[in-house]
């Protein structure tokens, strides 16, 4: 019984590109997020995967209401997120939190760990009475596996993995329902990455959290996600359950992406289905007409340049935005 907690419909975020000294002219738009729709259910992890410039981080910012959307809507527990003001918005801030990628810049270097994790309580003074805050901060440190006695230390006294735990503790402070994880493990070493991923998994089952898990690493996304959305140049090109996307991908981009990931098993050398794309991701300022992927696609035909494929079920059992979608197992 899937109960939606976050429903995003046709979300668009364009950034104007301006030039000029005093009076700036707009010469174009970066179409960072260009019509994205998805639903996140309670207690579920939605993986959002894509390469740099696909708009996944912008999506996170818009969902956190750090950037206003250009158009489109999002409902949190059935209420319009972007219309919220005042007290309602403050409540929303408590319900949706973010864990950021870079453990080095996501913590204020001039605040102690206690102040960093305690800041949510200072902003939302009604959550915890003043006297209990220190206790709460120490509990949070304990929850994320850090020594509660370290509240007087500064971020630089911790390693990357520990800092990421501090960031997670800060996000947990207000007992959110949804956490947007923007590449939470991509800056970490392999041995530390697993620790943080396991922590995120445990917290989810203990606290009933829902995650929007944004990453470029397909293996990491597979490990944590129930459902996956693949993004390319601001659009979701394919979406489905973890199994559908990884075992039966139908969009050529998904297939290429999966086949490009090296598998840590030398015996598979040369036996895997290798799809090599040519070139880089085009600029989101001026994406190709029709299907954005057509310039790198081996299946591209005339229709791909003129008609934008809808994200609907064509082949297989899940939606895919390709005119020529067909299943192909590449993993």
């Amino acid at each position: 019984m899937a109960e939606p907690i976050l429903e995003v419909t046709d979300l668009v975020k364009h950034f104007p590109v301006r030039v000029g000294v005093l009076f700036k002219r707009t010469i174009g738009h970066v179409k960072a997020v260009d019509g994205v729709s998805f639903t996140l259910n309670k207690g579920e992890t939605l993986g959002v995967v894509g390469e740099s410039g696909c708009g996944k981080s912008t999506l996170a910012q818009v969902l956190m209401r750090l950037e206003p959307p250009t158009s489109g809507g999002a409902k949190f527990e059935g209420r319009d997120m972007f219309a919220m003001r005042g007290a309602e918005l403050r409540k929303l801030r408590r319900d949706i939190q973010i864990v950021l990628q870079d453990p080095y810049t996501s913590l204020n270097p001039r605040m102690t760990v206690g102040d960093i994790i305690g800041e949510p309580f200072e902003i939302h003074t009604d959550v915890a009475p003043k006297g209990s805050r220190r206790r709460k901060v120490q509990d949070l440190l304990d929850t994320v596996g850090l020594n509660p006695e370290h509240i007087h230390r500064y971020p630089h006294q911790f390693s990357g993995g520990q800092r990421q735990r501090i960031g997670i503790a800060r996000a947990l402070a207000l007992r959110p329902k949804v956490i947007v994880c923007d590449e939470p493990v991509s800056a970490l070493d392999v041995s530390i990455q697993a620790q943080v991923m396991n922590l995120l998994g445990e917290l989810q089952s203990d606290l009933g959290l829902s995650y929007v898990f944004i990453a470029h690493d397909l293996s990491v996304v597979r490990h944590l996600s129930d459902r996956v959305a693949v993004m390319y140049l601001g659009k979701i090109v394919e979406t489905g359950t973890e199994d559908q996307i990884y075992e039966r991908p139908t969009h050529p981009y998904t297939q290429a992406l999966l086949s490009a990931v090296p598998v840590p098993d030398p015996t598979q050398r040369g036996t895997r289905d290798v799809i090599r794309l040519t070139g880089d991701v085009p600029s989101p300022i001026n994406p190709p007409s029709g299907c954005h992927f057509r310039t790198r696609c081996w299946k591209a035909q005339d229709i791909c340049a003129t008609e934008e494929p809808e994200l609907v079920v064509r082949a297989g059992d899940h939606p895919s935005a390709c005119h020529f979608a067909e299943e192909r197992s590449v993993v």
């Binding site: 390469e51 490009a260 598998v263």
Partner: protein, 328 residues
Amino acid sequence: MTAPLLEVEDLHVEFRTRDGVAKVLNGVGYQVNAGETLAVLGESGSGKSVTAQTIMGILDTPPAFVTKGAIRFNGEDLLAASADRRRDVRGDGIAMIFQDALSALNPVFTVGFQIEEQLRVRRGMTRKEARARAIELLDLVKIPNAKNRVGEYPHQFSGGMRQRAMIAMSLALDPEMLIADEPTTALDVTVQAQIMDLLREIQTERDMGLILITHDLGVVADVADRIAVMYAGRIVEHADVYQLFRAPGHPYTESLLESLPRLDLKGQELKTIKGLPPSLTNIPSGCPFHPRCPRAVDVCKTEVPANHRLGLDRTSACHFAEEVVSRG
């Protein structure tokens, strides 16, 4: 057997800073033959990049000091060579490419100029010859429309193209050996695959020795012949790629493999390595991995394990190497 192209022997490097002495390398040794790919695998601070920079002679002294060891390139000890001689070897003998192509290329010169400069200075080519050669090189690394792009600046290139340009630059003087320091880490997967293909192709064609420094076990499995696993400035395991992935011979390697999420496996449980990599100013006694090792016993805390031979060209610096490998 002929002598290896590059031989690093018992290399010790320390960083002397205000805060104390960090023993960054503590007896690193490996060999690379022509036409062979050695992957050096390790996490941050394991010393994999420092080893490469010591080979290249581009470490800043101070703070870095080589306290012991030898680096032999074609039999010649580079550490004993003069600064001039070392400069000659750089680029001509051994070239290096870096993770971040954007900062490794000078933003105020065109890509072409940066390739041509070496050719003119080191090969005495004229402007015209150097330009022609630069275009050839850019063609070689599959930069489309090389003739026109040779005059562009680094920022006009995309991430993948910049990495290609850097590879072209490193190949300009036809080095016998290439060191690639995390060449694909900053790139997207689809581009990463292209660059790895390119490196592999160029290496085979030129019969170059390649040291691939990386933290990515997937990349290693895909391209390496042999692997040296580094931890706290030591090589803890050294093995053929197939052997290592089939049966790791050191608990650290074993744990690394188990902690990796796999694209092709579903719902596996991730084992973690407890704790953190050690501080290089305060390396644990005995085996440096013992505080994090699941099978550590008393002897690990007191005695530094020697390199145990586990067959031809395979070693593991673990007191229980035989046991670990037979379990796999």
